[in-house]
C-alpha cells in the first residue's frame, strides 16, 4: 500500500471525525430507544385507561338497564 503523508493526515482527521459521528449516532440511537420505551409506556397507560373506561361504562349500562 502506498499513500502520501498528506493523505495520512487527512485520513487521521477523517478518522477523528468519523469517530465523532459514530458517537453522535450512538447518542441518537439511545434517544430513539428511550423515546420508543416512553411510547410503549404510553401505550400501556392508554390500554389501562380504555379498560377502566369500559369497566365504568359497563357498570353504568347495568345501572341504566336496572332502572
Amino acid at each position: 500500500m502506498s499513500s502520501s503523508i498528506n493523505d495520512k493526515i487527512i485520513e487521521k482527521t477523517i478518522n477523528i471525525d468519523l469517530k465523532k459521528m459514530v458517537k453522535e449516532i450512538d447518542d441518537l440511537e439511545i434517544n430513539i430507544i428511550k423515546e420508543n420505551k416512553s411510547c410503549e409506556n404510553k401505550i400501556d397507560n392508554y390500554k389501562e385507561m380504555l379498560e377502566q373506561l369500559i369497566f365504568e361504562h359497563h357498570n353504568l349500562c347495568i345501572k341504566l338497564f336496572n332502572k
Partner: protein, 478 residues
C-alpha cells in the same frame, strides 16, 4: 316507611256536634280515622327522615316542610288547605321517591341542596297527581348557612363564554375555560375559585404523579355545566393540531389525562344526575363521552404506533450508516498502521543519511532535520496535486544561463541529452498522492550523492503548504 293502603276519604270533612247545652259552640274535629291515620303516617315519615339523615340539609328542608304541614293539620287552621293536600302527602309513590332518591344520592352537597327545588319540580312533573306538591309559594325558612348555599347557583354565560357562580344573587366569581385550561397545564396557576368549585391538583404519593381531583360543588353537580366543560376539553383536544408546535410539548397528554379523569369522575358520580328528568339525555351524554374518549385514545395509540415504526426505521438506517462508518474507519486504521510502519522506515533512513551527512557537511544535516520537522509540521496540510514542473514554475527557478528551468535535471545540467535514470535521478512528475516512500528514498539517495543546489531565493518543497511555512525542505548540492 309505611306502606299504607289507600283509604277512601270521607266526603264529609267536618263533623258538627250540636249539643243542646253548647249549642252556640261549633266544634271542629278531624274527619275521624282518616285524619288520624294521615297524621300517623306523617309522624312516622318524619321520624324516618330524621333517623336516616339528621345532618342532611335536604332532609331538613323536607322535614320542616312536612312538619309545617303536620302542624297546620293538627292545628286545623285550614282543613281545606289549597297548598297541601292530604292525598299528596300520603301518596306512597311520592314518599318512595323521596326516600329512594335520598338514599341513591349519597353525595348530597351544596349543589344538590340548591337544586332541591328543581329536583322537586322535576320529579313532580313526572306525575300529574302530585302537581300540588309544589307547596311553597312562600320562601322556605332555613338556617343561615343553608340559606346562603341555597342561593348559590352556576350559570353559563354564552355571551362571554364563561361560568358565572352566583351567591345570594350576587356574582361570586367568573371562571373562564381558559382559566381552567391554565390550571390544568400549570398547577402553580392559582385560581382559588377553580379549587373551590371544580377540581384541585394533588400529588399521588404511590405513583408520584399529579392527579386531578374533582370537588362536590354546585359546579360539578350541575349536569349542563359539566357538559359544557366536557365539550370544551374535547374541542381543545380535537383542535390541538392547530396549535403551534412549541406549545404541544407534553400538554396534549396532560389535557388528555384530565379529560380521562373528568369522564371517569362523571361515570362514578353518575348518580348525581339522577335528578335529570330525561334519562335519555344522560345516557346519550355518557355514550357520547365514552365515544369521544375512545376516539382520542385510539387516535393517540395510532400516532404512537406510527412514531414507534418511524423510529425503528430510523434506527435501522442509523445502524446501516454506523456499519458503513465503521468499515471506513477500519480501512483508514489499516492505512494509518501501514503509514506508521512506512514513516518509521523513512525516519530511519533519513536518520542514517543525516548521520552520514553530518560527518561531511553540517549544513546538510540541518537541512535533513528541517525535512524531518516538515513531516511533522504537515498536519494541517491540504491535499493538492502537484508535480515538479509546477513547483519550478511557482518558484521561478532559472538556469544559470538564464533559460527557464522546466525540469529538475535542467538545474543540474545544461545537457539536453542528460539521462536522469542513468544518473540515479528520477524526475518526479507524478502527483504527490501517487508517490510512495520508495521514491522519497531514491531522492534522498540522490541527495546524498550530489552537492546541494543553492537556489537563489526560493526553496523547493514537495509539499507546497509546508514550503509556504518553512521555505525549504532540503538543499541539493550540485
Amino acid at each position: 316507611m309505611l306502606n299504607t293502603k289507600p283509604i277512601k276519604n270521607n266526603s264529609n270533612n267536618n263533623y258538627t256536634i250540636n249539643n243542646s247545652l253548647n249549642s252556640d259552640k261549633n266544634i271542629k274535629i278531624e274527619n275521624s280515622k282518616q285524619k288520624e291515620l294521615e297524621n300517623l303516617v306523617l309522624k312516622t315519615n318524619i321520624e324516618n327522615f330524621n333517623e336516616s339523615n339528621k345532618n342532611d340539609n335536604y332532609d331538613s328542608y323536607k322535614n320542616n316542610m312536612m312538619a309545617e304541614h303536620f302542624n297546620s293539620k293538627i292545628n286545623n287552621d285550614s282543613i281545606n288547605n289549597n297548598l297541601i293536600k292530604s292525598d299528596t302527602l300520603l301518596n306512597p309513590k311520592i314518599i318512595n321517591e323521596f326516600n329512594n332518591s335520598k338514599l341513591d344520592n349519597t353525595n348530597l352537597n351544596l349543589g344538590n341542596i340548591i337544586e332541591g327545588n328543581k329536583y322537586n319540580s322535576l320529579r313532580i312533573e313526572d306525575d300529574s297527581d302530585i302537581n300540588n306538591f309544589k307547596i311553597l309559594d312562600k320562601p322556605f325558612k332555613m338556617d343561615n348557612n343553608t340559606n346562603t348555599n341555597t342561593n348559590s347557583n352556576v350559570k353559563w354565560d354564552s355571551n362571554n363564554n364563561n361560568y358565572v357562580i352566583y351567591n345570594n344573587n350576587n356574582i361570586e366569581c367568573v371562571i373562564t375555560n381558559n382559566d381552567i385550561l391554565k390550571y390544568i397545564l400549570n398547577d402553580d396557576y392559582n385560581n382559588i375559585f377553580i379549587k373551590k368549585y371544580i377540581f384541585i391538583i394533588t400529588l399521588n404519593n404511590t405513583t408520584n404523579n399529579n392527579e386531578f381531583n374533582f370537588i362536590d360543588s354546585i359546579f360539578t353537580g350541575n349536569f349542563d355545566i359539566m357538559v359544557k366543560l366536557q365539550n370544551f376539553i374535547y374541542e381543545t383536544l380535537n383542535n390541538y393540531n392547530d396549535l403551534i408546535e412549541s406549545d404541544k410539548y407534553n400538554y396534549y397528554e396532560i389535557i388528555t389525562f384530565f379529560y380521562y379523569q373528568l369522564i371517569i369522575w362523571l361515570f362514578k358520580n353518575s348518580s348525581k344526575f339522577d335528578n335529570i328528568n330525561d334519562d335519555n339525555k344522560v345516557s346519550k351524554f355518557f355514550s357520547v363521552i365514552i365515544f369521544r374518549l375512545n376516539t382520542i385514545i385510539l387516535k393517540n395509540l395510532v400516532n404512537i404506533k406510527k412514531k414507534i415504526n418511524d423510529n425503528n426505521i430510523l434506527l435501522n438506517k442509523l445502524t446501516e450508516i454506523k456499519d458503513d462508518i465503521n468499515s471506513k474507519l477500519n480501512t483508514i486504521n489499516i492505512k494509518l498502521n501501514n503509514f506508521s510502519l512506512d514513516s518509521d522506515n523513512i525516519f530511519d533512513s533519513n536518520k542514517q543519511s543525516s548521520e552520514t551527512s553530518k560527518s561531511s557537511d553540517t549544513s546538510e544535516s540541518s537541512d535533513s532535520s528541517t525535512f524531518n520537522n516538515n513531516i511533522t509540521d504537515n498536519i494541517t496540510g491540504k491535499e493538492t496535486d502537484i508535480n515538479s514542473s509546477d513547483i519550478i514554475n511557482k518558484y521561478k527557478i532559472v538556469q544559470k544561463n538564464g533559460k527557464k528551468v522546466d525540469k529538475i535535471f535542467d538545474i543540474i545540467t545544461d545537457d539536453s541529452n542528460y539521462d536522469s535514470d542513468n544518473n540515479s535521478y528520477k524526475e518526479i512528475n507524478d502527483t504527490i498522492t501517487n508517490q510512495n516512500f520508495s521514491n522519497l528514498d531514491k531522492i534522498k539517495l540522490l541527495e546524498n550523492k550530489i552537492n546541494s543546489i543553492e537556489t537563489t531565493n526560493n526553496k523547493i518543497s514537495y509539499n507546497p503548504n509546508s514550503a509556504d511555512k518553512n521555505g525549504k525542505l532540503f538543499k541539493i548540492n550540485i
